[in-house]
């Protein structure tokens, strides 16, 4: 949450900063805590590395004229979603959306400090002891694995420069880009320049194994490899993955392998032999983000850096232009773009479902677009319009809500009747299932003409003219295309097995609330409700039959169908 007192001229201690400013020492009351200052300084510096803005230093003190400058411009930097800048469309909205985009790399990676530290320590220890090691990073999608490891790589290279050792060769590879799984070894050879001395008839893997088993081939450099989406290397005999990790166990190998994948038990399932050799990879789990973590990440992203245009604007109006020019301003805008309750709701919802930060960012951007659309339409010129709870709720319902109910309500009438007849057939069947065991092995697969009969019955009772067999088949095909039914492939047209893929309670709900101009839909829904003597909470169990003919038990249930259709 951006604090209320954030001024553009935030005071920070920085080594070279004060030598330039003509100000006196600031009063203690305005200082932030050093920890926060440090954090911000890192942010500033790494932003500089990204090339967005040059390194920022601290500006001003409460009494300096520059503060006056920024106090003035701060008023103009209030959240003004409609504000046009230089005749382009709302720039503030654009900046915030850009900051919230998944593709925008964040300045620092928050909430993953512990994991990054662990990985860095591991790499450093391997490096210092000059021995090989393997590490496996796992976690759900959207938990920041690739991003964190990228940062760790940078820190590691930086550290090696500081310490003065030759920096390791790094290969980052995404395993989805390999045409075949064993290509990874040839890529390693190329990148690490180990191909000299390779005989033409040895495979790349053998050559690597030779190199790592003999001391004379060493060049003295450590090799670091980061393999992303490692489960693409899994083959039927698990050979490639296994060989790759085994390379780290060879006596003279100086190879650090970091593997990234989603499966938590990859190491246990595929690398059991390594356990026997006592060289199992270190496993670091990136857990799904909690609500507080998501909130923190979102807030950190919203503290955007001013676009260059604002800075030029600020520079022009100050008499202290020369001083300002030398130390560039990096300003954190104190925009209260989002209402705090809205952001928290978004974080809570995403944390409860998947903990995937990409989803949270997407929802926030979607909410801003909802706000944008609203502002476009309305004529009131309120200056402060924030993204409220209501916008976030709209965005969340758009992404989380399944369109099934809407689709069912918008289907043509006969297709709705077919879905109803399906539900009715299975309700009858459930009613007559005498034991729990029979209910469990209930087949949800019906043959086309059984369905047709049920369909005709409903048409009869609701006075709709039923369609013929061929039209019926084409209606079923249309439903199959949409994914509401599934028609099994079968040789003849006559005995196609049809399965319902939508929950029957969705169908009942959709048709009950459907306000249709015809009363027949209501009648259908009413007749369904009347038949539901079992309760509304029934769910379908997956069918246990494979392809082919029903077993003998199944045919006894078929007889129950016939009885039920009385």
């Amino acid at each position: 949450m951006v604090p209320k007192e954030s001024n553009p001229s935030r005071k920070r201690s920085s080594p070279g900063g004060y030598s330039e400013s003509p100000c006196k020492a600031p009063s203690p009351g305005k200082w932030r805590s050093p920890r926060r200052c440090n954090g911000n300084r890192d942010e500033v510096r790494s932003v500089g590395e990204n090339g967005n803005l040059s390194n920022g230093d601290l500006i001003g003190s409460p009494k300096s004229p520059r503060k006056e400058l920024f106090r003035n411009s701060n008023q103009q930097l209030k959240w003004n979603p409609r504000g046009k800048l230089l005749n382009c469309h709302p720039a503030q909205m654009q900046t915030v959306k850009h900051a919230l985009h998944v593709a925008t790399p964040p300045a620092i990676v928050v909430c993953r400090e512990k994991e990054q530290k662990n990985i860095l320590e591991f790499c450093k220890s391997c490096f210092q002891q000059s021995k090989a090691g393997s590490l496996y990073v796992c976690g759900c999608p959207g938990t920041g694995k690739t991003l964190s490891i990228g940062k760790v790589k940078e820190y590691f290279l930086g550290w090696s420069k500081e310490v003065g050792v030759p920096s390791p060769d790094v290969l980052t590879i995404n395993c989805t880009s390999l045409t075949s799984t064993s290509e990874i070894f040839s890529q390693m050879l190329v990148k690490f320049e180990l191909s000299k001395g390779k005989a033409t008839n040895t495979s790349p893997l053998q050559h690597l194994q030779d190199i790592f088993s003999q001391k004379k081939h060493q060049s003295g450099r450590m090799l670091l490899m980061i393999a992303d989406e490692m489960d693409y290397l899994i083959t039927r005999d698990h050979a490639v993955l296994h060989d790759l990790f085994m390379l780290t166990t060879l006596p003279f190998s100086r190879f650090i392998l970091i593997g990234i994948a989603n499966a938590i038990d990859l190491a246990d399932r595929f690398l059991q032999k390594l356990e026997a050799l006592n060289c199992k990879p270190v496993v670091i789990t990136f857990r799904a983000y909690s609500k507080d973590q998501i909130l923190k990440i979102l807030q950190q992203r919203i503290m955007v850096v001013l676009p260059q245009i604002y800075i030029i604007y600020a520079i022009c109006i100050t008499p202290y232009a020369c001083i300002v020019h030398t130390s560039l301003i990096s300003v954190a805008l104190g925009y209260d773009v989002f209402q705090p309750a809205a952001l928290e709701y978004c974080a809570r919802k995403v944390a409860a479902t998947s903990g995937d930060i990409r989803k949270a960012l997407d929802i926030c951007r979607c909410a801003i677009e909802v706000l944008e659309a609203e502002l476009k339409g309305s004529v009131t010129n309120k200056e402060t319009e924030k993204v409220s709870f209501h916008h976030i709720e709209t965005a969340i319902s758009r992404s989380f809500k399944s369109p099934v109910v809407d689709i069912i309500q918008s289907l043509p009438q006969h297709q709705q009747v077919i879905l109803c007849s399906f539900v009715r057939l299975s309700q009858h069947c459930k009613k007559n299932a005498t034991t729990l065991a029979e209910a469990i092995i209930l087949i949800i697969v019906y043959v086309c003409d059984q369905l047709n009969r049920s369909y005709s019955e409903i048409c009869k009772s609701t006075q709709i003219r039923p369609v013929g067999m061929m039209d019926f088949a084409s209606l079923c095909t249309a439903l199959n295309d949409q994914g509401l039914l599934e028609i099994a492939q079968s040789r003849g047209d006559k005995s196609k097995k049809i399965k319902l893929k939508v929950d029957s309670s969705d169908i009942t709900f959709a048709l009950k609330v459907h306000i249709c101009c015809l009363s027949t839909s209501c009648y259908i829904a009413a007749s369904l409700a009347h038949d539901t003597s079992i309760g509304t909470g029934h769910t379908f169990f997956p069918e246990l039959l494979g392809k082919g003919r029903p077993k003998t038990r199944g045919s006894s249930i078929n007889s129950q169908f016939h009885l039920a259709l009385k």
Binding site: K97, V102, A103, S177, P412, M470, Q482, L563
Partner: protein
């Protein structure tokens, strides 16, 4: 001359999907506007976006995409390039050689980088999106992953008729795909009316006699307000509400416009509707003999009595029972009935329940009806030579 010109104009309109779907261009809430808004935002913000268009077949998804892309090309000619992929052709498993699919993926990634550098946006249109989600989904993954970098500017539009297309994606791919969806639902009654007016009204400024144009348009107005026309329209829309279906219905009607009067009439629409209502099986029943009709009615009775499976012998039993009860004159021997039975099998009005009993003789294999009771009823009604007894037997089962 004028009438021919009018006819030609109407036909060309009906077969131009851009014209048909341009009806809804002006309304704010239409999918056209939403899609256009999204793409324009992505281009001007130079950020990446992805969206899924879902709807039944024939509802105009690809047509709307084409409309939007055409408009954008005229507005921003240099900043967009479009790449179209189709799931039937380009999905992973459909390649004989693995190499060519990776070449494609590599090509797409390179294009992304190039266009990112030159500040152009690429728009990927992935038709039959659910077919891309089969197998390992490499193409989708590489595409969506490449869009996660700042240097690329792309919009991915997935078009699919499966409503759960995004559930088919792997979780990694789903995480990278933003969850925007546009649903294409069948148009409401008012929208259908607008569509009809948009297509059928002749414009005043194309060189036709203004008197003729006025007459034509007022006739159309009368037809659209006619209750019978509403019923015809309803019965078509109850089976398939997609715009394509409606357009085909209109095309048939328009093509049967009489050139002397030069005006459309309700008869044209009724005739088009009859084509829709063609019931092949009921038509077959008109050529079927009386004995065969008896057999069909017997089978229907057996089915109504909920016999699990019945074969020729049980049908014969039923047949004889009827004749004993009603003392009709149509009593034939078994061998004659067997021949009639075989005729019905050939015409596929009845069929065997399964194909396994090939070795058994015809009399023992279980059979079932392949024609619905309603169609049978219509067939009986339309046969003037049908004996009254059959109708009575049929009605006896209280089926109307």
């Amino acid at each position: 001359m004028d009438t021919e010109k009018a006819l030609a104009l109407l036909r060309s309109r009906l077969y131009d999907p851009n014209y048909v779907h341009a009806t809804f261009k002006s309304s704010e809430e239409s999918n056209y506007c939403k899609l256009k808004f999204l793409i324009m935002n992505s281009i001007s913000d130079s950020c990446n976006n992805s969206i899924l268009l879902l709807g039944p077949r024939g509802s105009g998804k690809v047509a709307v995409v084409d409309l939007v892309l055409e408009d954008l090309k005229t507005q921003h000619p240099d900043s967009i390039s479009v790449i179209r992929l189709n799931g039937l052709l380009h999905s992973d498993d459909n390649f004989a050689l693995k190499a060519s699919s990776d070449d494609n993926a590599g090509f797409m990634i390179d294009m992304l980088k190039e266009c990112g550098l030159s500040h152009k946006s690429i728009i990927f249109v992935l038709d039959e999106f659910d077919l891309f989600a089969q197998g390992k989904q490499r193409l989708l993954y590489s595409l969506l992953d490449a869009m996660q970098t700042v240097s690329s500017q792309a919009v991915v539009i997935g078009v699919s008729c499966r409503l759960d297309a995004d559930q088919l994606l792997e979780k990694r791919v789903r995480s990278r795909f933003s969850h925007r969806k546009l649903l294409f639902v069948p148009p409401s009654r008012e929208d259908v009316r607008r569509l009809l007016e948009h297509i059928l009204y002749l414009p005043k400024d194309i060189g036709l006699l203004s008197k003729y144009v006025a007459e034509f348009n007022s006739k159309i107005q009368d037809i659209l307000n006619d209750k019978k026309f509403q019923e015809i329209l309803d019965s078509i829309l109850f089976i398939d509400g997609a715009i394509n279906n409606l357009v085909q219905f209109l095309f048939r009607a328009v093509s049967s416009m009489s050139l002397e009067s030069g005006l459309l009439s309700l008869e044209n629409f009724k005739g088009s509707h009859l084509c829709y209502q063609r019931q092949p099986k009921t038509q077959i029943l008109e050529g079927v003999s009386i004995l065969e009709l008896y057999i069909l009615v017997c089978m229907n009775r057996l089915e109504c009595k909920e016999q699990n499976s019945y074969n020729f012998n049980s049908v014969m039993k039923e047949y004889k029972a009827i004749h004993e009860a009603y003392k009709t004159s149509d009593n034939y021997r078994d061998s004659v009935c067997l021949r009639a039975f075989e005729h019905l099998l050939e015409r596929e009005l009845i069929g065997f329940v399964d194909n396994k009993g090939r070795n058994l003789s015809i009399e023992i294999q279980p059979v079932k009806l392949l024609i619905s009771p309603h169609e049978l009823y219509l067939g009986l009604k339309s046969r003037s030579s049908c004996p009254a007894i059959l109708q009575k037997l049929f009605d006896h089962e209280s089926f109307r």
